[in-house]
């Protein structure tokens, strides 16, 4: 994008002053280099979101922003229902509650190095991944509904993990106000065989090593030390979330004239928070959040089983579980007064600062862990929420790198075998049912996550705590 389109307010803040139908300014957090590399459509999408009713303060974009359906990926926007505020399916994203959870293992790299081939095989055997894979759990309708309402809590009650896991999950493992009756039969059917599966595309399970610590007190609070082996899981609400998103998009579009919503883009489909369509979507979307939380909880259990088989002394303890495609009801200060807002984060991670009452006791002093996934072969980061971020971005930070190259281009550049062999030379083992999938997800097809994290840190949205490098990656 052309930086001259913005008012350069400070080093990392780029402002679009309100014009036309914009109700608030647009505000992008990025270095000039990241901004220049962004597609111009990000500008248009930030402007479009700024025109939606009830939006508060500014239409925001994180340093990893790129084009998305309706809202940019990396977009953050908060709406006040008392000012006609809307909820938007395009503002949450199709893979509802896609997110990352990380677990510490109590092991250092040297303890897994010898058995890492065996460990990779065990994880690949135990955690279903890839197109058409099914989980070991078949749910009848009543049980499925219990999962939609119970989230990770439901999974723990079924024997997947322990109660101590739950306080290390956003919403204590269960998104409240979910409504199973708002989820269509088709969405439920798409989930029937998919509980406890990773999916495909950019989703993965990774064994990683803490390569660098930036913030020892926060790292200590998170249980991270240098050379500690960590397991990270990146996946979401599978087919169910997508079906809910697609159906809501259609329903909201059809209802938009009735709500006098002039939508600049069909994918921006929205409905007033206090409307039948808005309430139905919120009920269903929260159920999808619970599905994602349950899914990551079941996969955690499977990862523990695989570790127990190969390295029995491993103790996989949940560090934290964050979702980066959500809309949540939160208290924020706007213009000096407290407001209850519906905060959309699409490809953006919640990042509560120190002292936030919703944080587990262990994190209260240092802020919320923000888990930023890389891709196989590149590094990932753990950050911590800040007080400045609470003010600047409704307590939100980046979520990853984003693709720099299309799947087709990646296929032309690399073969799957070549990627697997090259990473193996670098000590990283890949396990995937599809070599074509590996080629399309080649590390070189992604943007530089380190630049995104540095910009996030310098902008004060979250601060760097640790850098993780991959040892084993299971890809769908």
């Amino acid at each position: 994008m052309d930086p001259s389109l913005f008012e350069h307010r400070s080093d990392l803040e780029w402002v679009i002053e309100p014009r036309g139908r914009m109700r608030v300014p647009g505000l992008l957090f990025a270095t000039e280099e990241l901004l220049r590399a962004m597609d111009h459509k990000v500008y248009e999408q930030v402007v479009n979101v700024a025109s939606l009713p009830g939006i508060q303060k500014a239409s925001l974009a994180m340093p990893d922003a790129h084009w998305g359906y309706g809202f940019a990926v990396g977009g953050v926007a908060a709406f006040d229902p008392e000012e006609g505020g809307v909820v938007s399916a395009g503002g949450v994203g199709f893979d509802i509650s896609c997110g990352v959870r990380s677990l510490t293992t109590g092991l250092v790299r040297a303890e897994v190095e010898e058995s890492k081939e065996e460990l990779a095989d065990a994880l690949f055997r135990t955690v279903p991944a890839g197109v058409g894979s099914t989980g070991g759990i078949r749910l009848g309708r009543e049980e499925l509904d219990r999962m939609l309402l119970g989230g990770a809590r439901w999974a723990v009650e079924q024997g997947f993990g322990g109660h101590e896991d739950l306080e290390r999950v956003e919403e204590d493992g269960r998104m409240k106000d979910a409504r199973a009756e708002c989820v269509s039969d088709r969405a439920k059917t798409r989930m029937r065989d998919e509980v406890g599966t990773l999916g495909s595309g950019n989703h993965y399970l990774e064994v990683q090593e803490v390569a660098e610590i930036f913030d020892p007190p926060a790292a200590g609070a998170y249980g991270l030390r240098e050379k500690e082996v960590v397991v990270s899981i990146h996946c979401g609400s599978r087919g169910l979330g997508h079906q809910i998103g697609t159906e809501a998009l259609k329903e909201m579009l059809a209802a938009a004239p009735r709500h006098r919503l002039a939508l600049p883009d069909r994918e921006l489909a929205s409905a007033p928070i206090h409307s039948p369509e808005g309430e139905r979507y919120l009920g269903a979307m929260r159920a999808a959040i619970n599905v994602a939380l349950a899914n990551r909880q079941v996969i955690t259990h499977l990862a523990r089983a695989a570790f127990a088989e190969v390295i029995p002394q491993a103790h996989l303890r949940l560090l934290y579980d964050v979702s980066h495609n959500t809309c949540k009801v939160e208290e924020h200060r706007v213009g000096g007064r407290g407001k209850t807002l519906y905060v959309h984060r699409k490809g953006a991670t919640r990042a509560w600062g120190p002292g936030h009452p919703d944080l587990p006791e262990a994190f209260r002093a240092v802020g919320q862990p923000v888990l930023v996934g890389g891709t196989m072969g590149t590094c990932s980061y753990v950050l911590a929420g800040t007080e400045t971020g609470m003010e600047a971005s409704f307590g939100s930070a980046c979520h990853g790198a984003g693709r720099g190259m299309s799947r087709h281009q990646a296929l032309k550049h690399w073969s799957g075998r070549q990627v697997v062999d090259e990473l193996k030379r670098r000590g990283i083992l890949i396990r995937s049912p599809s070599l074509r999938g590996v080629a399309e997800e080649a590390p070189g097809a992604y943007k530089d996550v380190t630049a995104v994290v540095e910009a996030t840190h310098r902008a004060g949205l979250a601060r760097r705590v640790a850098r993780l490098v991959p040892i084993v990656t299971v890809k769908g």
């Binding site: 029937r192 299309s406 769908g476």
Partner: protein
């Protein structure tokens, strides 16, 4: 009835996602071709055997809305039954679409499926006749 014309589909690049396009003498042919482009996002259609048929019916007020529903219905069958499709027989009449999709269950070792298609989108959703009078049906799909 529009069958699957082999050479009448293609993909187009769209940021992180991918666009599917089909062409044909009639909307039904273009719809059959664009569905084959959908299979090709996941795997080589040539590797898929048309062993069993699945019927799909949908209806919409215009051809673009019908394309959105059609592709999402195909994706639903792929997802819930673990299928890949090789051949499509499509009939469109008065806003109603009736189709039979022929394919088989995914076998990862043989099909090397790259990625699941999660849904068709409204982005670049377009159904029209080109300058030569051939029908083109296309949209971006989310993967």
């Amino acid at each position: 009835m529009g069958q699957t014309p082999e050479a009448e589909w293609e993909h187009f690049a769209h940021d992180a996602d991918i666009g599917v396009r089909g062409r044909g003498k009639t909307p039904a042919e273009a719809f059959a071709a664009v569905a084959l482009a959908l299979t090709a996002v996941v795997a080589d259609p040539g590797s898929v055997r048309p062993e069993r048929g699945v019927e799909i019916a949908c209806a919409a007020s215009d051809l673009e809305a019908l394309l959105f529903d059609w592709l999402n219905a195909v994706i639903y069958e792929m997802d819930t039954q673990g299928l890949l499709f090789r051949r499509f027989e499509v009939a469109i009449k008065g806003g109603r679409l009736l189709a039979t999709c022929f394919g088989e269950r995914v076998e990862p070792a043989r099909h090397q499926p790259a990625v699941e298609v999660k849904g068709a989108t409204y982005t670049a959703l377009h159904v029209a006749q080109d300058e030569r009078g051939r029908w083109v049906a296309e949209c971006v799909v989310d993967v």
